[in-house]
Amino acid sequence: MAGEEVDLNPPVAVRQLVPDDLLLRVLVKQKWLSNLHEAFLLRSNETGLSVFFDCSPAESVAISTLSRSYGVARLVVGNVTALQLTVVPDEPRHATIEGLPHKEDDADRAEWFASRLAEAALIVDRTKRDQ
């Protein structure tokens, strides 16, 4: 209709997460399989940890578009929020874990959170994938 603007990118509905929801963290280094805490340290350009939900481990890798991965770890939302961290869904199957400090800013808390998240996580997939 004349005069009306059409939004070509309408917002996609993103559901709220509940404590029992499962989060998947794609493991991009082989060494993370035996030293899982390394998977929960923020990279220098990140503000939150990237996680997936409402999908299988294989789907999470595919959505991530990472060229290579070595497996997937699973976390329960409630275990993450129990650490006073927040899980913010930003896409239908993607969320970020917010509240983690960078190791450059607060090494003690960054390492401590990495240990706690590693304890709470379970490796559910050890498949090496190239895509």
């Binding site: 060494k31 390394e38 220098s44 290579r68 090494a107 808390r109």
Partner: protein
């Protein structure tokens, strides 16, 4: 002079934001870390862990090497760690190459600290092999775990990034600035029962 063990303090709470540094009873070694990367004698191999069979021809070969077979948790010397650090620098598929800065410091610190920590002592100690990896900007990270104890060394990729040592045991945890003496003390603390 070997560094003294690093006791972790007794915390009243576990909130990570409220770190309480344990009293340090190991005075920092004078001088800079570079001093410890030279003039350190090769780390001594305790006889029972020596990979070299005895040269005593009167001792049957099988008997001479037998103690090695009985070692449940092998002692890992600095050479194995240095080899891993070198491998990172040579290029590993899923790892960022370490910066020259981090690589040089990690290598020198490990060589010197293992030399200090593994000086012969009356009680045999075991240091497990660490994780050797890099961060996303080329810093080097080493992580040791022995039972409930965790020790992590972070070598920043450049002089503007942090070098630190993270200690964790149960609910206790803290961070210290990284130098050779503290790394040696950390290894000592890790190995101590």
């Amino acid at each position: 002079m070997a560094a003294q063990p690093l006791p972790l303090g007794y915390y009243e709470d576990v909130e990570p934001g409220r770190k309480k540094r344990a009293p340090r009873n190991h005075p920092r070694m004078p001088g800079s870390w570079e001093q410890y990367s030279v003039g350190i004698a090769p780390e001594p191999l305790r006889p029972e862990f020596s990979p070299v069979p005895s040269r005593d021809q009167n001792i049957p070969h099988e008997i001479a090497v037998q103690p090695v077979m009985n070692v449940a948790a092998p002692f890992i010397g600095s050479s194995a760690v240095l080899t891993e650090i070198d491998a990172l620098a040579a290029g590993v598929d899923d790892e960022v190459k370490p910066s020259e800065y981090a690589y040089g410091r990690a290598r020198a610190f490990v060589e010197a600290a293992y030399g200090q920590a593994l000086l012969p002592k009356s009680v045999p100690r075991t240091i497990p092999a660490p994780l050797v990896t890099t961060d996303d900007v080329g810093g080097v990270r080493l992580a040791w775990r022995l039972g409930p104890k965790q020790l992590r060394a972070n070598f920043g990729a450049n002089a503007n990034l942090r070098n630190y040592l993270y200690f964790e045991s149960g609910l206790e945890h803290h961070v210290e600035d990284l130098d050779v003496s503290r790394l040696a003390g950390g290894l000592d603390w890790l190995a101590k029962k």
